[in-house]
Amino acid sequence: MDFKKTWKALRTSPIDTLFEWQNQRFLWVLMAVAMGGLVLVAHSFFQIYLYMAPCEQCVYIRFAMLVMMVGGLVAVINPKIVALKLFGCVTAFYGAITGMMYSIKLNGIHHAAHDPEGLFGVQGCSAEPGFPFGLPLAQWSPGWFNPTGDCGYDAPIVPDGVTLDGVQQWFINMYTASDGWYLIPSLKFMNMAQACFMAFGLIFVVLVAMAVVWGIKIARTKQQSIAQ
């Protein structure tokens, strides 16, 4: 892709260019790969390799990300087909909005759990997870969806008798020292909830822009057909 050409097209006719992008595969692929990738990293790297067990809201966040991945994959089949694009769009909106809500809730729980003064204002820890539409995901795939971590906590807990390799030890020491995941652990800057909110929020903003462009395009086409 010629970056200069694309930039020029975006500047001179943003609506047409953005609409063109929706009908191409790359943005849908990007969303599906990003969301699937985040879940994969959370599961394989943080949960399995670093023994950072997922909390309740964390598994809901995984669910929201996978919903968006599925939506993206369906749209990728052929984004020019309105039904497929619409499916991708609706599921992506659903995932992004619920994902942001789970992230806000997790942030509140994280704050209440870690702040010695903080306590009131959160619901506490569920006895068992409840996924949207009553999906029994924790039974279907406990490794991915059973919240084995404590609500509000994601620090590594290494089982007895495990020998860690050097890299593992380095990461585990870092996240143990910060008592959980942070984008910059030494500064306790941006916890998992805030980082997830950013990811969902970014996609949400793009989705809104794309939906607006789509709407304008439909309106224009209608006007043109009336004028003709």
Binding site: A113, V122, Q123, G124, C125, S126, A127, D150, A155, I157
Partner: protein
Amino acid sequence: MQSRFLKNAVKSVLCTFFFVAAFQASAFTEGTDYVALEKPIPNADKTLIKVFSYDCPFCYKYDKSVTGPVVQKLEGIVTFKPYHLETKAKYGQQASRFFAALMLKDQANGVSLLDDKSLFKKTKMAYYAAYHDKKQRWDGGEADFLKTGLDAIGMSQADYEAAAKDPKVEEMLQIWKASYEVAKIQGIPGYVVNGKYLIYTKNIKSIDDLVALIKELAGK
């Protein structure tokens, strides 16, 4: 002239009445601050049941700073009854049996469950601290788990096993099974007044607020 005076008088009396009534009305609402249980816990009149699990961080936080002062302020109004939830933690069943046996010992010794001498309280706090502060997970199994509690009170395994055989322990565990249905509603910790009203934890604002709500529900 007179009728206008009368009208005004009636108006002001009515206004005062509504004003006072508004302030006397409950500050708590069902659905926001508490919910009436569909299946009330039987034989729980004049009690404050607390559903908890040793692996729940907020149960630990509440037990460190809220439960004690709240129960003290409610002395004579409700009796405090902790119910351990056996379904949540890895060693939930073992913990429930252990706590039930020690609670009965406390009862026999005439020690309050909030007293620092209470065997139940000592072991409960020991499990909380081991799990949440020291991040112990007892990978060695059940005996490993029990050791933490036994060490906290200097009890031998044999003494515990003898205490756990008391049929009253089994009775208590059966009663505690009600905690599962309660925990499903909004998670734990879960405070239940008179076995009928579950308090919504997220809307508790302070210790005094919780005391006031429990007092109101206890009188219902």
